[in-house]
Amino acid sequence: MRVLRKLFGFVVLVGVAFAGIVVYRRRFLTQRERVDLYYEDGTLVSLEDGSDGAGRLLPIAHDAIGAARS
């Protein structure tokens, strides 16, 4: 009985750890959508999702990806 309880506790611990890793990956490691523009003089403008420019460019990019894979 005692061994069974220990095993159950271990399984619960592993389950919680796994769930924590999944939540962490989804929350922090998922790449945010963005558009990077590179200019001739070497400058880079990065438009993060939610900005004005990205709001116009990202839907077009989604359309291009959808069309290329269909």
């Binding site: 523009l37 990202l58 290329a68």
Partner: protein, 136 residues
């Protein structure tokens, strides 16, 4: 090298590139790897629109936009602009950005260059003198 041949080599070399097209400055399609006609048109229209929108983004200075990457959860769209031509490509998510840009630039150069298709211009072969020219 023929634009279609250059694109074919590009998709053969790069495992990250799933589809690509070559456009001129007027938006005319020089080559496309998407087989379905309707999808191909949608893809090139979207690539042209992406470049047009990107050119409209305000930027300090008077320099030209030369390349862009639109990174989404589904994949990335890359565009390289050189002279009066542009190459656009779609990749899987989180690609090796520098490598894709390099491959696209090489493809653009190869598409407009006679020779081996490595993007490097070759000197024209010397014409042999005809007997009448050598006698003169």
């Amino acid at each position: 090298m023929d634009p279609a041949q250059a694109l074919s080599e590009l998709t053969e070399i790069s495992s990250q590139i799933q589809a690509a097209c070559l456009l001129d400055s007027d938006g005319n399609v020089l080559a496309n790897t998407v087989a379905d006609e309707l999808s191909a048109k949608r893809f090139t229209d979207a690539a042209t629109a992406l470049v047009a929108e990107a050119l409209g983004v305000p930027h300090a200075g008077d320099t030209q936009l030369v390349q862009l990457e639109a990174a989404t959860q589904d994949g990335s769209v890359f565009v390289v602009i050189e002279g009066d031509r542009a190459a656009a490509a779609v990749t899987k998510p989180e690609p090796t950005v520098g490598l894709v840009f390099y491959d696209l630039k090489s493809c653009l150069r190869a598409a407009g260059t006679p020779g081996d298709g490595d993007g490097k211009p070759r000197p024209l072969a010397r014409r042999k003198a005809t007997p009448s020219e050598s006698a003169a």
